[in-house]
């Protein structure tokens, strides 16, 4: 009777919404640019801001009038924001964004440094040193989370690594023994995490948080029982030596920072490249990503899901343990109770802010390290900007990142989901 008529459907493409990510970022940059130019510019004294290339006030320096610099870099920020808003050069939007943020930071620095000086070598090397544990911790997170195991126990692995490094390093009077046992310390926590979350299917976040408290308790207990009463036998580890590579170390700024430093710097930077290469170019990396995104599919093609997760979490323990070694074998030369003081959580923040990638984690860790270094610099020169607020930066940046105000961060699909073979 009735003939079904097929309606001709016109092809409708969804119009691109006006407020794209790029436009929103552009507006954001323009706003902070205006803030920089107007506020920092008007507050900055009209004296020279000197960025010296050496450790102190003497020697060659990049110098700029503070007020001029603050306004100038503020305008650069506004300009990059405008370019982003105008959808100019879509390919390079991340570059423009970084440029805009960099100009904003420089504007802030011009205001703060005006009439004083900022030693670039010290700032850069301080940034890198403070970022070291964050890089290593975040890499440990990358290893675990890309294969689907949430690791919030980075803090605990740091503490265990720092403690084991100090204890064994002192008892064996060898920094290398300390370094190895720091890695073992990290692996111990990682192993508990792995067994409980992979074998016994306990909620991974719960295990992580509880393990942090466990590590805090055990290291604190043994510290008070052993180290406090007899520091020379248990708590005076040798420090990691600084090695200078002749030639390369003479490059201004970069030379002393990268080529006249301790082994851990090279290990951390090398691991970033290695893990990036491993994840994207090797069979192990493909399998890890498969297990992290869709373990069932990975299992059907014959990948051992649980085995791979064990492997990755334990490797993460090694890396995070080395990160813990930074605190005792590089930074201070002795262990104290709860000495990591939340660094493990900043590493977690760097991991998320860096979108679960090695290079992203490196960038985020350097950014957070810079914020910490700047906080100590500002409180040293008596700046009106409270250091606590600069120290909040990593945490707030991460909240903004996960809330998707600046492009949503997406975790691996099977992150935190235990795999039960059916």
């Amino acid at each position: 009777m009735s003939t079904a008529t097929v309606q001709e459907t016109a092809e409708v493409t969804a119009p691109e919404p006006f407020w794209t990510r790029q436009r929103r970022l552009g507006v954001g940059l323009v706003v902070i640019g205006i803030l920089a130019a107007a506020l920092f510019g008007s507050l900055a004294p009209g004296e020279a801001a000197r960025f010296t290339l050496s450790e102190d006030a003497e020697g060659a320096a990049l110098s700029i009038n503070g007020q001029l610099g603050a306004v100038l870099f503020g305008i650069v920020t506004i300009a990059t924001g405008g370019l982003l808003f105008a959808s100019f050069a879509k390919k390079y939007q991340n570059l423009l964004l970084s440029l805009g943020i960099l100009a904003f930071v420089l504007s802030f620095l011009c205001w703060q440094v005006a009439g004083k000086f900022l030693p670039l070598v010290d700032t850069t090397s301080g940034t890198l040193q403070l970022a070291l544990p964050l890089i290593l911790g975040a890499l440990a997170g990358v290893l675990g989370e890309r294969s689907g195991v949430v690791n919030v126990a980075i803090e605990g692995q740091f503490l265990m690594g720092a403690f084991a490094g100090a204890l064994v390093g002192t008892m064996a009077t060898s920094v290398w023994a300390g370094l190895i046992s720091a890695a073992v310390g990290g692996v111990i926590i990682a192993a508990i995490l792995a067994v409980l979350s992979i074998r016994y299917l306990v909620d991974q976040t719960v295990v992580g948080i509880v393990l942090n408290l466990f590590a805090l308790g055990v290291t604190g207990f043994l510290y008070e029982r052993l180290m406090q009463s007899d520091a020379s036998t248990y708590n005076e580890p040798p420090r990691l030596p600084e090695w200078r590579i002749p030639g390369l170390a003479d490059i201004p700024v970069i030379g002393p920072v990268l080529f006249d430093t301790n082994l851990l710097v090279w290990v951390a930077l090398g691991l970033v490249v290695l893990i990036h290469f491993g994840l994207t170019r090797t069979r192990w990396g493909l399998r890890t990503r498969a297990v992290g995104e869709h373990p069932t599919a990975a299992d059907t093609v014959g990948i051992r899901v649980r085995g791979l997760r064990y492997l990755n979490v334990l490797m993460g323990g090694v890396v995070a343990g080395l990160g813990g070694a930074y605190f005792t074998l590089v930074a201070t030369g002795s262990f104290t109770k709860n000495m990591t003081a939340g660094a493990g959580f900043i590493a977690l923040a760097a991991l998320i802010f860096g979108r679960f990638t090695p290079f992203g984690a490196l960038g985020a860790a350097l950014f957070f390290g810079f914020a910490q270094k700047l906080a100590t610099y500002l409180s040293a020169v008596g700046s009106p900007v409270p250091s606590q607020f600069l120290n909040m930066l990593p945490y707030l940046a991460t909240i903004i990142a996960v809330a998707g105000l600046v492009g949503r961060v997406r975790a691996p699909a099977a992150d935190g989901v235990p795999y039960i073979k059916s």
Partner: protein, 418 residues
């Protein structure tokens, strides 16, 4: 008629089993009580090993263990038994002090002081524990109890010394301020989760440290810092804003009664109110809840605000009941301990209360153990963490003790996926 015979036979067979064997079988099957008890035992055993390993004198006796094993064993036993008996005395009372009280040579205050300490430490943990437990039931993992408690201490503390209201009113306002402060701090991750899907585990961790840094900045500001001090401590809260207590060695304050009342309130909210039904539905299966017409986003936002208010109350009891002034470490570790308490209490309101009392007892006992036996208080943190690890992994406890599997499979509280 034909079916009755085998049933009868079965029943007869059951009767043949002695009461004792039924009892032991039930005891040894892996029910919640058994697992909880064995977890505590296991934690204490590992704690004992730690005590011995960290004592160089006893350890030296183990060097000639094969020659004279009794030496090492007696020394270890003495060390462990004194430490743990000090722990018990510090938590529940020293028999000698009770004897002195009854014979008239001591005061009742001294005898009851340990129990008072236990209750004092337990009070804030009840609130933070309830905060975590309630959020858990709605499928959210509130790691932010610590930060919410910190903000609670700030608002309660500032309200305690700033307003100068008359008695009773001042205390009520300060407590409410603590709850509101915590609620606002809890609302942030809630609304972010509802609006953008940002994972609450990450946002709450970050907000914890933000709150701690904010507090350490605030206590140094003019108008907040004690004008007579140069270190980081705020003005003391007004006398009228303090939670009433016995004074002297009996530090226990009204907070513990408030905690019991709030536990009852949370139990009612969870099991009897329509919001409680909604949050349990969302926690059990958010998609089904959505289909049933429950607004998941709204539930998340309100739930986190309520959880934040509870943690804020914990902070308020801490500053108005024990500390009386803000310092950077005023909230201690109550938020993270609350997390453990909720896990130990299996995310049930009354279970959380009991767990908080156990943790308070451990903490109070730990203080005595530290000053009498010289065993670091950190051992208590280890014990607490171990207990919760074993509780969280019942399969592990079963494997260690070779418990029989329970026939009744009870669905556990659904935990948020991290």
């Amino acid at each position: 008629m034909t079916t009755e015979a085998p049933v009868k036979k079965d029943a007869e067979q059951k009767d043949e089993e002695s009461f004792l064997s039924v009892f032991t079988r039930n005891l040894w099957s892996s029910n919640t009580v058994t697992v909880t008890f064995l977890s505590i035992v296991l934690a204490f055993v590992i704690g004992a090993v730690l005590i011995v390993v960290s004592d160089s004198e006893v350890l030296a006796k183990f060097a000639y263990f094969t020659a004279r094993p009794a030496d090492a064993l007696t020394a270890s036993w003495t060390l462990i038994s004194t430490a743990y008996s000090d722990l018990l005395k510090g938590a529940f009372g020293d028999p000698e002090a009770f004897n002195a009280w009854f014979s008239g040579t001591g005061t009742w205050q001294d005898a009851l002081a340990p129990i008072s300490e236990t209750l004092t430490y337990a009070a804030p943990l009840v609130f933070t524990g309830l905060s975590v437990a309630l959020a858990f039931r709605g499928g959210l993992f509130n790691i932010g109890a610590q930060g919410q408690a910190v903000i609670g201490t700030i608002t309660a503390g500032v309200a305690g010394f700033a307003f100068g209201l008359p008695i009773v009113l001042n205390l009520v306002v300060a407590i409410l301020a603590g709850a509101i402060g915590g609620a606002l701090w809890g609302f942030i991750p809630g609304i972010l989760k509802a609006r953008t899907g940002a994972h609450e585990v990450i946002t709450t961790i970050m907000l914890n440290y933000t709150a701690a840094l904010f507090l350490s900045w605030l206590v140094l500001q003019k108008g907040v810092q004690d004008p007579n001090r140069t270190d980081a401590i705020s003005k003391a809260v007004a006398e009228s804003a303090k939670l009433p207590s016995f004074g002297g060695v009996l530090r226990v304050h009204l907070g513990i009664l408030l905690a019991v009342a709030v536990t009852a309130g949370v139990a009612w909210l969870l099991n009897r109110s329509s919001f409680g039904f909604e949050l349990r539905a969302v926690g059990a299966n958010q998609h089904a809840a959505k289909t049933a017409g429950i607004s998941v986003a709204k539930t998340y936002a309100v739930l986190m605000a309520v959880a934040g208010a509870l943690a804020g109350l914990g902070g308020a009891t801490q500053v108005l009941g024990t500390a009386y002034a803000l310092t950077p470490a005023v909230a201690g570790n109550i938020g993270f301990d609350g997390l453990l308490v909720a896990l130990l209490g299996r995310n049930k309101p009354w279970g959380t209360l009991w767990a908080a009392l156990l943790f308070g007892a451990l903490r109070a006992g730990g203080n005595r153990m530290q000053s009498y036996s010289g065993i670091s208080l950190e051992l208590v943190t280890v014990l607490q963490a171990l207990i919760v690890i074993f509780i969280a992994a019942p399969a592990l406890v079963k494997a260690i003790f070779r418990l029989r599997a329970t026939r009744l499979v009870r669905p556990g509280a659904s935990l948020a996926k991290g």
